[in-house]
């Protein structure tokens, strides 16, 4: 008890020292705001004048130009694009969707792929996964989306292995060389917060429009988690296994290939799972540079408000995502099992053999029954129009319509627009001061300094207003998500059965490509600001709910029991025991929600926003690399500011509570 009180004393001392600076910062900010309100603020203190903004975009353009043309990098990249990469994409394209390229064998009949999925699913996780694998492919074929789905898959089957190999190599390098790891760390955090559109344009310019650019952008986006997981796994190999390797006389190379990498299998496979999921999410988004596939079709259908077809495509994408996720996760936990001695070879390779036989069998069968090879235009069972009618008439029911319209009106007029206008009215320096105060208050000195630097850079980028609008969307969506998500998490955490099923739902929802979240938003609210906030809201609510449940249910039972024995009510227990202990974990969820929102807000640009995303999307049509980069960096810097503040808070907090 005494220790606790001295600690409290310490904390208050620290807070007091901190709060003096904080108060100073806030007073400055409010002075600026007040000055503007009574009209004495000079304009150059309100917004950075045009003249003072450095021509960053032009300079970057010049640099890119130099790299591209003078250094001749573009020849190298184009060579890769037109050579090996295109070759791989053509091959997979031929096999899966029947593109007229070497080896001129495809398309593989859908039924043959479906049976292989059944066998693989069974081998990895029994009948449930078998049903999921087969069901996904049967649905895709029968609903008439086979070709689109295979266009998407043909990019994934090339991108994922390449991203895996590169991530593995870089991960090994980062583990081996400390300087490389230290260099990679900041780059990786920027890469992970950079909006996907920022990857797309350089990919198009350096690697030619079309599947190659899509694949390159996808690969680049999917590499960072693979690097992190590889390094993590290699660091975790038990020292005795390493020593056993040395004592067995391994050379350096043998150590790596025979000891480290196999022993880090679990983490590396988790990396594989993440690579696959990111590849799927990104390939769908390459629709924005005109890549054909599920994403492109979804984009087109949503654009023309064909809700039925959008819904069906959404289901296909979700099924693919869940199938890929479950199968790769099942692979992670699958441990090798021995065969009894004297097991004949065909029994040892039973699964591969059955898959092969069925594959050949169905390929041959499909020669006889063409429907097994391809479900034709007139044969598919798509109910797009009918679903469309159902959804639209459902939405047109008075009560529903009344509710959504009232919500739209309320959110727009009472919440969103006033909030946006307030944020836009704040003078730039005051805004920066407010953000710095927040970071300093939450995370301490370092995050505070970074916030100051990052937001000043944003202010001088020349895109201040759009950045503020981006931030406004993120803040509104996360705030609304917290209002809905946290109570939901708290309620769910009360019973272990509920928390289990909600956690499962959250995990599943997190595997959906972000694009999917636009569908319900557009369905309910049409194409406008509220739909944007709503789509981000559901996307961001998932991690909030998830980490609230995890945080609350990982509070050690002896602590809650102690609270019970002290005669606290449920509410007191929640407020004074469970929340404080769960807060660091919940902060992780909060952080993720903010990062997801920054990601989503850019994607949502296509609904029609006025933020950075909108400008970013416009650059995709042109060749303004510099501008594209500046816009992307703005998003990244804002996201990193919050990331640093919140993670630093969670870490300090965890340390103080002795959790970990």
């Amino acid at each position: 008890m005494a220790a606790l009180s001295t600690e409290l004393q310490e904390i208050t001392d620290k807070l007091w020292g901190r709060s003096r600076l904080l108060i100073a910062l806030l007073i400055m900010a409010f002075a600026l705001i007040l000055a503007k309100a009574i009209g004495v603020l000079p304009e150059w203190l309100n917004r950075i004048p045009e003249a003072a903004i450095p021509p960053t975009a032009q300079v970057l353009d010049a640099i890119f130009n130099f790299i591209q043309n003078e250094l001749g990098i573009i020849y190298v990249t184009r060579f890769i694009a037109e050579g090996p990469l295109e070759f791989l994409l053509d091959t997979s394209g031929n096999l899966l969707e029947g593109k007229r390229r070497w080896p001129y064998l495809g398309p593989i009949p859908w039924s043959a792929i479906a049976v292989v999925a059944v066998v693989v699913g069974y081998a990895l996780g029994g009948w449930r996964l078998a049903a999921l694998g087969g069901g996904t492919f049967i649905w895709t074929a029968v609903i008439g989306q086979w070709k689109m789905a295979m266009q998407t898959m043909s990019v994934i089957v090339v991108s994922a292995p390449l991203a895996f190999l590169m991530g593995l190599t870089l991960g090994v390098a980062a583990w081996k060389y400390r300087w490389f790891e230290r260099m990679m760390k900041p780059i990786l955090s920027v890469l992970q917060t950079l909006p996907f559109f920022t990857y797309l344009l350089p990919a198009v310019i350096f690697f030619k429009v079309g599947p190659t650019a899509g694949a390159v952008a996808t690969i680049t986006f999917a590499i960072p988690p693979m690097i992190l997981m590889t390094t993590l796994g290699l660091k975790k190999v038990s020292p005795e296994v390493i020593e056993a390797g040395h004592m067995s006389g391994c050379t350096r190379w043998q150590m790596l290939s025979h000891v480290y990498v196999p022993a880090a299998r679990t983490e590396i496979l988790v990396g594989v799972n993440q690579v696959i999921m990111l590849c799927l999410a990104m390939v769908v988004l390459t629709a924005f540079i005109g890549m054909p596939g599920l994403g492109a079709k979804l984009l087109a259908m949503m654009g023309s408000f064909k809700l039925g077809r959008s819904f069906e495509i959404g289901v296909t994408i979700v099924l693919l995502a869940v199938m890929l996720d479950r199968m790769s996760k099942a692979w992670v936990v699958k441990q090798p099992v021995h065969f009894e001695r004297g097991t004949p070879w065909w029994k040892r390779h039973q699964v591969s053999l059955i898959a092969l036989v069925l594959f050949i069998g169905f390929t041959l069968l499909s020669q006889v029954f063409p429907i097994l090879a391809e479900v034709g235009r007139k044969q598919h069972l798509s109910q797009g129009k009918e679903i469309d009618v159902v959804i639209k008439s459902f939405l047109a029911i008075d009560a529903i319509k009344g509710t959504t319209e009232w919500l739209r009106w309320f959110l727009n007029v009472k919440v969103l627009i006033p909030f946006r206008n307030t944020l836009l009215a704040i003078p730039t320096p005051a805004f920066i001061l407010l953000v710095v105060s927040f970071s300093y208050w939450v995370g301490g000195r370092r995050p505070g300094i970074y916030a100051a630097v990052f937001f000043t850079v944003v202010a001088f980028s020349g895109w201040w207003d759009r950045s503020v609008i981006t931030l406004y969307t993120v803040i509104s969506a996360v705030a609304l998500a917290a209002i809905i998500g946290i109570p939901l998490g708290v309620v769910a955490a009360r019973s272990s059965r509920w928390s289990k099923s909600i956690l499962l739902a959250c995990d599943t929802a997190q595997t959906f490509p972000s694009f999917i979240y636009l569908i319900p938003a557009i369905m309910l609210f049409g194409v406008n600001d509220v739909a944007v906030v709503f789509s981000i809201l559901i996307f961001a609510a998932v991690p909030l709910i998830r980490y609230t449940i995890i945080g609350l249910s990982s509070v050690p039972p002896e602590m809650t029991e102690a609270a019970d024995m002290s005669g606290s009510t449920r509410r007191q227990k929640l407020m004074s025991v469970q929340f404080p202990l769960a807060l660091p974990t919940m902060a992780v969820g909060f952080n993720q929600a903010i990062m997801f929102s920054f990601f989503m807000v850019i994607i949502a640009a296509f609904i029609g926003t006025q933020d950075l995303g909108q400008e970013l999307q416009r650059t995709l049509a042109g060749t303004e690399l510099g501008k594209n980069f500046v816009l992307g960096l703005n998003v990244s810097l804002m996201a990193l500011t919050f990331d640093m503040a919140i993670s630093s808070w969670a870490e300090q907090r965890k340390k103080r509570l002795g959790l970990d």
Binding site: E240, E243, A244, M247, S248, T251, A263, Q335, R341
Partner: protein, 342 residues
């Protein structure tokens, strides 16, 4: 046996952990205690240790956890590079070996068994045992044959295709032992090989180990923190504390003549009669008149308890294995040991 060249000879070996240990060690002029070194920001894993391991002997290193046992053995096999001093293996300074030579040394001369087994989880028993052979490039049928041989030796035949995960702790350690024996090493290091096992299994494994040792006759460095285990196995015992050696002697000497307070305290609770052999208490004949049947010098006092209690001679003749009388035993001194009155 002592006369032949030692297999391992360590002289003034230091192993310090910390930011720049070499420089720090050079700056040490006077002797500093473990705690003083720690106050300077370094940990003395091994502190000025000189030891020799003779061919064919079983040296047991003992001490509390954190006393530097593992570190010392890892210096012998150069899993750690030492900070100061020299270690020679078969007359060769191992700190001077190139990477290539070091790998050769480990591939041909050294085997090691680890406390938590250190098995490769993705390999079957057979593949684990054959691993060192594979690393040195032996071809498949040959290494398979040798691996099967060692697996049989440790009593795991029939389990070749199992994965470590599918075996019990004791069985896993048998795999570890088999792997370390696959290359027929000259020197065998065992770092608390049985500590992670249940007491019953531990006993069984010790018996098994003694059987192997009798059969193979290797030079062994064995680490344990269990005194009973040490006494059961050792030719000589090294007692370590805070990185330095407190005493290095035969079990009898450690029990009868502890060199320091610490060792005395350490051996306090031991039933000395079970450790001390008649030989150790034997005095030269010096013209004493001897009568009656001699006792065997190789027996422990505990084994002689019945004779000692029932006999009424003051002096008992002591004979070696061949029946030749080598000295006399004062019955009273022996009874003191037996009754713990010493």
């Amino acid at each position: 046996m002592r006369a032949s060249t030692p297999v391992i000879s360590a002289r003034n070996v230091w192993k310090l952990f910390g930011p720049s240990p070499e420089r720090y060690l050079k700056s040490l002029s006077a002797i500093r205690s473990f705690d003083e070194i720690r106050a300077d920001g370094y940990i003395a894993g091994v502190k000025d240790v000189s030891i020799r391991v003779d061919r064919g002997e079983m040296l047991v290193i003992m001490g509390l956890s954190g006393s530097g046992k593992s570190t010392l053995v890892r210096c012998f096999s150069r899993l750690h590079s030492i900070t100061g001093g020299t270690i020679e293996v078969d007359g060769q300074d191992i700190m001077k070996l190139s990477e290539r030579d070091l790998i050769e040394l480990r591939r041909n001369k050294m085997g090691m068994v680890f406390q938590s087994f250190g098995l490769l989880p993705h390999r079957t028993v057979l593949e684990n045992v054959a691993f060192p052979l594979e690393m040195r490039g032996q071809d498949c049928p040959e290494r398979r044959e040798r691996a099967l041989e060692v697996i049989k030796l440790v009593g795991l035949d029939g389990r070749e295709d199992y994965f470590p995960r599918e075996l019990s702790g004791g069985q896993q350690q048998r795999v570890g032992i088999a792997r370390s024996l696959a290359i027929e090493p000259d020197i065998w290091f065992l770092d608390e090989p049985f500590s992670a096992l249940d007491p019953l299994i531990r006993r069984e494994m010790q018996d098994e180990f003694l059987r192997l040792q009798e059969m193979l006759g290797k030079t062994i460095v064995f680490i344990t923190h269990d005194f009973d285990e040490a006494l059961r196995l050792a030719d000589r015992i090294v007692i370590m504390r805070d990185g330095s050696v407190e005493q290095c002697d035969s079990p009898d000497q450690i029990v009868m003549k502890p060199a320091t307070e610490y060792v005395a305290k350490f051996t306090e609770d031991i039933d000395k009669a079970r450790v001390v052999h008649a030989n150790v208490l034997t005095k030269p004949v010096n013209g004493h008149v001897l009568e009656g049947a001699p006792i065997n010098g190789g027996s422990t006092i505990h084994e002689l308890a019945r004779v000692l209690v029932n006999d009424n001679r003051i002096l008992l003749p002591v004979a070696n294995d061949k029946g030749v009388v080598t000295g006399v035993l004062e019955r009273n001194a022996a009874l003191n040991v037996l009754l713990g009155a010493e």
